[in-house]
Each structure stands twice: as structure tokens, then as C-alpha cells.
Symmetry: C2
Subunit: 396 residues, 2 copies
């Protein structure tokens, strides 16, 4: 517990390397670790992250950059008997103590991506989503970790042996985080309905699409849990939208430029609501990396762009849709009762074949969760692993 | 009702102009209207928006661009007795009928922004958020419209005479749309608490911030409803983040470049969750327009960027924070019992002065809604207005 408070936040930082030397020129600190690794830290960053300048309960920073003295510098650094880095400040009567485990884990040269990169797939290198057993997920932290990482990497997974009920769905959702309610409800029932307000609630086949591209914030994760599936037809189809986008980028760069720069009009209207969003179908991040896909033939409203762009944009859309419908990119499988499909809705398109209600029943129950709930869950698993490593080191 | 179905969607399109002439070169249609206005429509766009190619229940498009014949062209156009545009297709045995009201409202030359642009403000041109009376909002559609447009333009408003309870808050939220639940709950109580998990739940002053910059999707709207406020202190402060960003763009363009391009580390950790998001503090859209602000001194985790960027980024952050704290940009007011403050959380920063719980009680109840719920509400008001215009024309 002492160690936790000393690091300033709620996390755990096992001490696996010791500071054997530290020096400063007043503006940066250089540290040599017991394994020979060298780190350097900037004085403003160290001042900002002083572990005593946090609120004792919330553990949130209370240091305010606005009131930092202009002449602040480091007066001296040294290592305490407990192995902490002691920083005495000049320009402000303050001393900071940095926990060696915390400091090492924040070394700027060791920074790495917190999560694995997406591993894009097509029907050649993937046949079905990875499957996991619900009882193993809730009883074995290693299986849970494997499941969550698989979801980050491949953008899809199936959990088996889930209670075939709305309650079964909610259990999985709550394992990850908070459900995002929409105008379709906290959860929604995908079955052939009377007076459907969207194509999903009919028997017709659904073309590959993301859910709610019509919203400013397209839901991050979608869960589709199979309560009943005895109909003829209704097979599930997934397409890795990032993989299709990569193909277009490689083979039709001009089309890719249109799809990533010209906004497209999405919409979903009912008698009660009128959601619309206008944005390119493929979104790139600041570094040009593919970040998000929006597509849904039935979730469009009339395109409103410059007249001269209409023909090239429809041509680009046709290419995108042609590839989305190409078997080269499709995973096709049958979701069985008690199986819950989870997809990254900002990357993976889903579709279904039409089905015939007279041959049986088909009933899925779905919900949405933000994607950062998944990332929070992964961080918490890693935090608990660090806690275990720390405790086992303390007990040795 | 006939008219509604003929336009293909759920909206209403009063016929205020008639088609007096139409012609085609096979690829585009030119229309002359009774007021002299000219429109042109592209053949692919018209084919895509054929009002009979929608699902009869969901009113969603079922035309699929992938199966459009390569040799599709317009064979002829004419005006029907009812005033509809008739398009006979070549390359496909199909005829489309376009409703004149619908067609006119989609004229490419008359396209306009669906919503007013943000009118940014500082303490010189604005003293307090616009105030509206809850009973007038729910009884008078014109007041409701005025309220919603004011919220879009100024990014903030106060509703008065609201039942000072959680129920009062939920009534307002549901008037706009679906509440976005977070790890802080469906609604959250802002008061001094034992064991607070964030600074909001203490007595300390809160610096100007947006809520949950720590999430991939920063909530669009925040509602803060005052149930009790009898303490000394605890005044409310708002800052127009777009206005501050404009100031930096104008006066310190290099700093603006850093704030819009270098990602910043936000985070909110508790014993149960670990939300983090890394993104620039000021986000621009594809056209360089300021789109979103994220800021919250207490909602940060240690910055992890290239070592060489640390000093310039802290300098940029200091400037941003200095301006956010500058009285030139602040609205300051006291939220009274029964008043509900609503802000665009991706634009407007909010803050509060510290207060002293021994002098009375201060209890706000808050929740989040996505911003596009607001836009959907505005579209529905405009749709009802169009319905009224149509009905009154039909009755004449």
C-alpha cells in the first residue's frame, strides 16, 4: 500500500531494475539502471509529474503549469536509501521523490504502443472469428486476456456457451464496460418484425455495413448474441474494412483519395428521429493510417456534394461496394444459439444472408459498447498482472 | 399520406414551386422552376434516389450501386399531370417519378449548412448563457426551436424553472435524446463526497476543462442541473474553447500548430477502470476548421511524446491554460436551484470556484447526451414545420 501511494496513481510498478547512477545539468536528469539501460527525463515533465502534487483521494494531478516559476530548474538529484530518485528544485522550495518502478516504466526510450496493431485479414488467411468459451473467460484471467487481445488484433471474436438470453448478452457487455444506449434501445432485438424501422428488422439480406454510420460517434464495439437460429438462410458474413481499404489504397490510389477526403451523406430517419452524419467513408488519422470505416448502403440519405464530384464519388463508392461484396474478403459462418459475436464496428463490416421465417426462428440480441471500454479492460488486466509481480517480489 | 410515400422518406416537402420545363442530355436533367430558378441533377444520383427503390416499411434505400448497368442513361424526362418529374431510363426497364417538393429541396445550387455556425464569444460580447423557461420550451415549439438553435450557436444555455431533482434533469435530457451512460453512471451527483474518484466530487475549485477528454468519444453535450446551491463560493465559469483557440491561431500560429498536431495524454484512473486517450488538444476538421477542444489539467496522465517535443509542448500548454484562466474569456455566474446548464462539451470549457461545505449545500446532478441527438431534435422541429406548411397549403 505504501508503494502505491508513493507512485501517485492507482497502478502498480514492480521494481525490477534499480537506479545505480543519476546526474543533471539542471534541465534534464540522466539515469543509469542496474541492467545498463540509460533513461533521460525532462525537468518540466518531472515537475509536472511530482508524485506529491496530486490530490490524495482522486489521485488526479493538481500541479498547475500556469503557476510554474519561470526560473524553475533542477538543483540536484540523488538516490535515496529506498532507491527513489530525489529531485531538489531550484526556483521553488520543493523536493520530489520518484519511485524507481514508476520512473522506469515511463522511460521515453522504452515507450511502446499500449496495444497490438490490427492484423488485417481476408478469406485467405482467416476462416472464422476466433472462438472463446464464456466459462473459461470468467474463470481464467489468461483466457480473458487472450480473448481481449484477439478482439483488438482481429476486430472480431465469438464467445461460446453463453446463456441464450438478453441476460447472457448483458453479462458479456458488463464484463467489458458500460453499454451505449441508442434510439434502438439499451439492447435491441434483431428479428423479423412488423413495422420495422430499419432493414435489420426484416428478413432481407443485409449488405456489408457498419452499424450507425449515421451518428457523429459510430459505436465502437457491437455485440450480437444468438438466442435462436433455426431458419434456412441467415448466415453471418464479416469483412475486414481495413483490409479492403488497404487494397484500394494500393491498387486505386485516386479512388482512395476520394474515399478519404470527400464527405458522404449517411442518415437514419424514422417518424421520431432524424440522425445524419456527413463524413468520408474511410477516415485516416494524422499519420495517414486507416482509422475508421463507415459504410451501409441502406443507411444513406441523398448525397449532397459539388455536382462535379457526383460521378467520381459514385464510381469510388461502386468500387468499395464491389470489393465489400467480393468473396475474397468475406468470412462466412453460421452463428449458433448461445454464441455471441463481437466486432469492432469502426473496422469490421457485417452482413447476413436473407432468411425465410417460415422455416424456423432467428433471433439475435445486440448492444453497443465504446471501444475504449475494451482498452480500459485490457489495462486493468495488465495492472492486476503487475500487482501480482509486485506482490510476489515483495514476498520473496 | 400519399404525398409522404411518394417522396420515399418520412419527411414532408411542401410544393412551393412547380416544374415548368425539364430537359436531358442523357447524363443530366435540367429543370426550370416556376420562380425562374434552374436546377440540374446527375443521372446516377437520380437513379440512386429513385423513390420506388426503397424498402416500403423502413424507407431505407435498397438500390445497389454494384448492380447498376454500366450503360445506364436517361432516355427521356417529362412532367406528369401531378407535377412530378418522370424519368424513363435507358439500359434498364425502369421509370422513376420524383416529387417536385422533394426535388426542389435537394437542388444542388441551394444546398446550405443544415445548422448555424458557432458564434464564438468572450466576456466582452457575452455576459451569461441565454436563459429559457422550461414550461415555455415544452408548451411552445417556437421557444423550443429558439433554445436549440441558441445551444448550437453559443454552445451553452440555461433552462430555468426545472424541478430541482434528478427527475427534472432526466426530463430535459429525454426531450433532446438518449442519455449516454459512463463509468460515472447514467446520471452523476456533483457534490463533496467521501472517497471522491474525481476532482469534481470535492470542494476544490475546478480549472476550466471539458468532461471526459480521457475517452475516445468525448461526450457531446453536458447537462448540469442545480438541485441545491446555498454555499459560499462555487460560482460557475464558462470559457468558449473555440474562441481561445482562434486567439492562439491568430497570435501564436506556431503554438497553434503544436496544439493541433502533437497528441497529448489524457487519462482517468480509478481502482476499477483505466481510461486514456491520446490526441491533440485542438482538433481541426479536413478544412482546417476548429472542430473540438480537449482540456482538463486534472484529467491527464504522464505525457509520452518525443523527448525533444516536451519543452515546446509544455510551453504551448501553458499558453493555452493561461488564456483559459484569463478573465477576458470567462463568463461567470451563479447557478441557482432549479436551473439546468447545458453546454457543448466539445467546445465549451466549464470551471467552478472552490466552495465551503460548512456554509450550506451545493448539489448538481449531471448527465451526458451525444451532440447529434440535438441535431436530430432540430431536424424533427423543422420537419414538423414543413408538415404544417404542407397541410396549410393542402387546406387552402
Amino acid at each position: 500500500m505504501k508503494e502505491v501511494i508513493e507512485t501517485g496513481d492507482f497502478d502498480f510498478y514492480p521494481v525490477e531494475h534499480h537506479i545505480i547512477d543519476s546526474s543533471t545539468d539542471g534541465k534534464k536528469v540522466e539515469i543509469k539502471w542496474s541492467d545498463g539501460h540509460l533513461s533521460k527525463f525532462h525537468f518540466i515533465w518531472l515537475r509536472d509529474n511530482c508524485p506529491c502534487c496530486i490530490h490524495p483521494d482522486t489521485r488526479e494531478p493538481i500541479f498547475n503549469i500556469v503557476s510554474m516559476p519561470d526560473d524553475l530548474l533542477i538543483y540536484s538529484v540523488s538516490t535515496t536509501q529506498e532507491g527513489f530518485l530525489e529531485v531538489i528544485w531550484s526556483g521553488e522550495p520543493h523536493t520530489s521523490y520518484f519511485h524507481p518502478g514508476w520512473l522506469r516504466s515511463h522511460c521515453f526510450d522504452l515507450l511502446k504502443k499500449p496495444f497490438p496493431e490490427p492484423l488485417t485479414w481476408d478469406s485467405k488467411n482467416k476462416k472464422e472469428p476466433d472462438r472463446f468459451d464464456w466459462n473459461e473467460i470468467i474463470s481464467d484471467p489468461k483466457t480473458e486476456r487472450k480473448w481481449l487481445y484477439s478482439l483488438v488484433e482481429t476486430g472480431c471474436s465469438i464467445i461460446q456457451n453463453v446463456e441464450p438470453s438478453k441476460n447472457g448478452l448483458i453479462q458479456i457487455a458488463k464484463r467489458i464496460g458500460v453499454i451505449r444506449e441508442t434510439n434502438f434501445g439499451l439492447t435491441f432485438d434483431v428479428e423479423a418484425k412488423t413495422g420495422p424501422d430499419t432493414a435489420a428488422y426484416t428478413e432481407i439480406g443485409l449488405p456489408p455495413h457498419t452499424d450507425l454510420p449515421t451518428r457523429e460517434y459510430q459505436p465502437g464495439l457491437q455485440l450480437l448474441h444468438c438466442l435462436k437460429n433455426s431458419v434456412k438462410g441467415g448466415e453471418s458474413i464479416l469483412v475486414d474494412g481495413f483490409r479492403v481499404a488497404e487494397e484500394i489504397r494500393l491498387k486505386e490510389p485516386e479512388t482512395f483519395d476520394l474515399l478519404t477526403s470527400v464527405p458522404w451523406d449517411f442518415g437514419n430517419r424514422s417518424t421520431l428521429t432524424d440522425y445524419r452524419w456527413k463524413t468520408p467513408m474511410i477516415k485516416l488519422d494524422n499519420n495517414g493510417k486507416i482509422e475508421e470505416i463507415r459504410v451501409g448502403n441502406f443507411l444513406r440519405v441523398p448525397l449532397q456534394i459539388d455536382f462535379d464530384l457526383i460521378e467520381p464519388m459514385y464510381k469510388a463508392y461502386k468500387l468499395l461496394e464491389t470489393l465489400n461484396h467480393d468473396d475474397r474478403f468475406k468470412l462466412r459462418f453460421r452463428l449458433e444459439q448461445g454464441e455471441c459475436l463481437i466486432i469492432d464496428n469502426r473496422r469490421i463490416l457485417h452482413a447476413r444472408d436473407s432468411f425465410d421465417s417460415s422455416t424456423g426462428e432467428r433471433h439475435l440480441c445486440g448492444c453497443y459498447i465504446e471501444r475504449d471500454e475494451l482498452w480500459s479492460s485490457i489495462r486493468m488486466i495488465e495492472r492486476r498482472n503487475r500487482q501480482k509481480r509486485m506482490n510476489s517480489a515483495l514476498n520473496q
